[in-house]
């Protein structure tokens, strides 16, 4: 992956993470990194798979594929996908909060924070045996734990209510308490799932202050958030997901002006995008609005070419997310690649056929963009040299047998006229680049040796031609 960023700077590396629930791909081949001491925000429309990413990182789900590496401050490295659920907070020092608050509502605030220090206290109490007899060392540890709890209660501005049941707190205070509780586990990475959801502006500002305070202590934060004011104000790095795939990655400034993000995240309604951009204070947009750009080339149009046929989006432009076709987000991804190349300083030069053109700003590249295969109509017949119009004998090979190709990619390949192993086996460099461009895989084909695998499988198929066909 990213060679320039040294391992020590990265606290979390997510590589090729995929999570499948049966046939549903909640996350597909997601890779991103979080730097130590930074606030990394994970944003995306509802259902984009953000919480699923969190659940994979914190061990509530075991990812179907991929690797999640956590580098602790002391240099030790943990592969989170291999650790049991409860050991992730205990050993890898990753703490999390929940989208729907999960406090111990019948216990007092103080008790909530003491439960968070369970592992430390358990050791101090000699796994209960010594504690039962009240040895002094346990008493000392117990007093220290109460002090730590008091410290975080003060930080969260809850110390006055320390002896009240957690369920009695107002909503915003419960959010802060949950963060304080997570901090009591002594985490190095704090994962917050929509901490500002349901907060009023004042509470939201208090939350920002709390998070900046946590950041100042050196704890890295990974944040899922819908509230753009929180994301834009405090995050150092933003990763945008759509349909379980990354569509943009970079600093808040570059992400919020990325037309792919605007199209995917905010919806396609022109007026709405402008309003939101004005709200978040994008000077470029305001300027453009003032100077009166051609509204036909606004984000609405850019999203419509992303979505393929114009009619697809027009019919749905009622301010909702596009649900037209899978092609929409697919193509958006290809574009987002190009966009992030320019905006991400650490990214290596994209090994793609993408021209180093300016990232497609909202009014930028037009429908005449050369490299984008419109997903629905594979007009670019020449992109792969040996494409076929139909599988031989009406039956395609089961491409999923190649490690690295899932059902989704199989379908995409079929759409592009790739049905058989021997076709893949015969790919040349240009073909690979073309395929990678529309599958949005950076060098993955070579890394996973699809060609080699396909050759073996093609021989196998040739050996027994009466093989069962693919699933398509």
């Amino acid at each position: 992956m990213n060679a320039e960023a040294s391992m020590n700077d990265l606290i979390l590396q997510v590589e090729h993470l995929s999570m499948k629930f049966g046939g549903l791909v909640a996350i597909g081949d997601l890779s991103f990194q979080a730097k130590r001491g930074e606030i990394t925000a994970l944003i995306g429309p509802n259902g984009a798979g953000k919480t699923t990413v969190f659940n994979c990182i914190t061990g509530f789900y075991k990812p179907s594929e991929g690797m999640i590496t956590l580098n602790r401050n002391d240099g030790s490295t943990y592969l989170l996908e291999r650790l049991p659920n409860h050991e992730i907070p205990a050993r890898a020092k990753v703490a999390r909060t929940f989208q729907n608050i999960r406090l111990f509502s019948g216990m007092t605030l103080l008790e909530n924070l003491l439960v968070a220090q369970h592992n430390k206290l358990m050791k101090a109490s000699g796994y209960t045996l010594l504690g039962l007899f009240g040895v002094p060392s346990y008493r000392k540890a117990s007093a220290e734990s109460i002090e730590l709890a008091r410290h975080w209660l003060e930080k969260a501005d809850l110390v006055d209510r320390a002896d009240d049941p957690a369920g009695d707190l107002p909503y915003g205070a419960q959010r802060r308490l949950e963060i304080a509780r997570a901090m009591c586990t002594g985490p190095e990475l704090l994962c917050l799932d929509e901490p500002a959801a349901g907060l009023n502006p004042k509470e939201s500002a208090a939350l920002n202050a709390l998070l900046m305070g946590i950041k100042a202590t050196g704890t890295s934060i990974l944040l899922i958030e819908h509230d753009m004011s929180v994301v834009m104000q405090i995050s150092d790095h933003v990763v945008v997901l759509e349909y379980g795939r990354k569509i943009s990655d970079g600093n808040p400034q570059s992400v919020r002006t990325d037309p792919r993000v605007i199209a995917a995240y905010l919806g396609v309604d022109d007026e709405e995008v402008e309003t939101v951009l004005t709200e978040v204070g994008d000077e470029d947009v305001i300027e453009q609005l003032d100077t009166g750009p051609d509204s036909a080339h606004g984000p609405g149009s850019s999203s419509s070419y992303l979505a393929g046929p114009v009619s697809d989006t027009v019919g749905h432009s009622e301010g909702e997310r596009i649900t037209v076709s899978k092609g929409a987000s697919k193509a958006a991804q290809v574009d987002a690649r190009a966009a992030s190349v320019a905006s991400k300083p650490v990214a290596p030069p994209a090994a793609k056929s993408a021209p180093p053109a300016k990232p497609a700003r909202k009014a930028g590249t037009t429908k005449a963009g050369t490299k984008k295969p419109a997903a629905k109509a594979p007009a670019k017949a020449g992109s792969v040299s040996n494409r076929m119009d139909a599988p031989r004998g009406g039956k395609a090979d089961s491409l999923v047998r190649i490690k690295g190709i899932g059902p989704v990619n199989e379908r995409k390949l079929n759409e592009h006229g790739i049905f058989h192993f021997d076709q893949i086996a015969a790919w040349k460099k240009a073909d690979i680049e073309a395929v990678e461009a529309y599958l949005a895989f950076d060098g993955r084909i070579a890394r996973e040796d699809w060609i080699g695998q396909a050759k073996t499988l093609a021989e196998e198929v040739a050996a027994k031609p009466a093989k069962r066909g693919g699933r398509k």
Partner: protein
């Protein structure tokens, strides 16, 4: 009951007028209901023919009772209730300082428990006190101990266990078998029985860890039955349904024996008259000591991380895992600790009875213990002790109510109705205090002031 007939125009009528009318309706409805149930009865006459016996007098009494009851309820009870409600609403909420008894409930309870056998002996003499010390005192204390043990599993960790009696049985049989075969003393076998029960607690815990709520309850119920069936059918070891008798008595650390034939028999050592009551009184204090041990350990454990983890588990298991708590071991320790106290109670039970059989470990016992925990208020030791007193003492006292025969006739046996009364009492208590006698929860740590947590915030757990 008769339906309340209240329409718009009723509101203008005085309560007395309305009461008259409603009493009339109630009488008519009850007449219609009971005319065939009570008014007529089929019987056989001397020549074996079916005849109708008419009981119009009884019917009249019932109907009049209903009508008068309705009249009194509408005319006096409802206005009185409304008045008191209005008064309560009008008066400012005065936080009454809890009374002396409430403040020092635990201390008073302890003193009463310690003085109880002495009082009984003074009141009824040694022979007369037997019943009160044994049937009431020891019996209740055994259930208190069991319920406190189950409280760890159900009340603290929130794992519904319907097979708790299995651990009671394991403890009792462990003591009975090891005591009769190897002649080991109670003081060795008590911890051994506790360990064995804890072991079986872990054995049960492992397979059911993944289960929650109803499913957990069913499996634990099955576990209780399996243990009982093994005890019945493994005749070579357990002697089947015949049970094991001749279980050795407890001695006072080997110094003083309660066997008349022994040289160190208590009457010989202390030069007092022979009586069976000494042993019972000794057992009473032993049971009390075991109860206090249970209470002490439970209170201590609650303030330790493991106890807090149990309660956190009851509140939210997923949050526990997100905080790095190993829920597997936490659940297993809850099962094991609860089972251990069940085992202590079981071995004490075996020593006290001198005889164990599978009959003592039926599902009803589990249900009663669970009922005590729920009735007392899950998690609260004081409430559970009171509930045990009410439930066990209540059923025992019903045996004593011979005067009821004078009321209901000589063929009335109060014992037969005790389960019915018991059920009714439980329904009433649950309506009146849905979270048990003591619904609030005492926090385990505090910064400024210890304030009880209201029951509306605590959760019951989902398994």
């Amino acid at each position: 009951m008769a339906a309340t007939v209240s329409s718009e125009r009723d509101t203008v009528a005085t309560p007395i007028q309305r009461a008259f009318r409603e009493a009339l309706y109630a009488g008519v409805i009850s007449l219609g209901l009971f005319v065939l149930f009570i008014g007529l009865r089929t019987d056989q006459n001397i020549s074996n023919e079916l005849i109708l016996v008419k009981r119009w007098g009884l019917l009249a009494i019932v109907v009049i009772a209903v009508a008068v009851g309705r009249f009194l309820y509408v005319a006096y009870a409802i206005p009185a209730m409304e008045r008191s409600k209005a008064e309560k609403a009008a008066a400012p909420a005065v936080v009454a300082e809890p009374g002396f008894v409430k403040q020092n409930f635990n201390k008073i309870g302890l003193v009463v428990l310690i003085l109880y056998p002495v009082a009984m002996v003074l009141l009824f003499g040694f022979q007369g006190s037997l019943k009160w010390v044994d049937n009431f005192g020891i019996q209740i204390l055994i259930y208190v101990m069991l319920a406190w043990g189950l409280n760890i599993v159900v009340g603290l960790a929130g794992l519904l266990d319907l097979g708790y009696v299995a651990f009671y049985a394991v403890g009792a049989y462990a003591y009975a078998l090891l005591g009769t075969h190897f002649g080991l003393s109670f003081w060795i076998l008590l911890p051994a029985a506790g360990c064995m029960a804890a072991f079986w607690g872990v054995m049960l815990g492992f397979p059911v860890l993944r289960l929650r709520g109803d499913y957990l309850a069913i499996v634990t119920l099955a576990f209780g039955e399996i243990i009982r069936l093994v005890l019945i059918n493994w005749r070579e070891v357990t002697n089947g349904s015949a049970g094991i008798s001749g279980i050795p008595k407890v001695s006072f650390f080997g110094l003083i024996s309660f066997n008349v034939s022994d040289p160190n028999y208590i009457a010989k050592v202390l030069h007092i008259a022979q009586s069976g009551a000494y042993y019972k009184i000794f057992l009473y204090y032993l049971a009390l000591a075991l109860c206090l041990l249970t209470a002490f350990v439970t209170i201590r454990l609650r303030r330790l991380p493991v106890g807090r983890a149990w309660e956190a588990l009851r509140e939210d298991e997923i949050a526990c895992r997100s905080l790095g708590i190993n829920t597997t071991t936490t659940k297993l320790t809850a099962f094991a600790t609860g089972a251990m106290f069940g085992g202590f109670a079981g071995s004490f039970f075996a020593a006290r009875q001198g005889f164990v059989s599978p009959e003592s470990f039926v599902f009803l016992e589990s249900a009663i213990i669970l009922a005590i925990v729920v009735l007392g208020g899950m998690g609260s030791l004081g409430g559970i002790a009171v509930a045990a007193l009410v439930m066990i003492g209540g059923t025992e006292i019903l045996r004593e109510l011979d005067f009821l025969k004078a009321v209901f006739g000589p063929d009335f046996t109060p014992e037969l109705y005790r389960m019915l009364l018991f059920g009714m009492a439980m329904v009433i208590v649950m309506l009146w205090k849905p979270r048990g006698f003591v619904g609030s929860r005492e926090p385990t740590a505090f910064l400024k002031k210890r304030r009880a947590v209201s029951a509306s915030f605590t959760k019951e757990g989902h398994g």
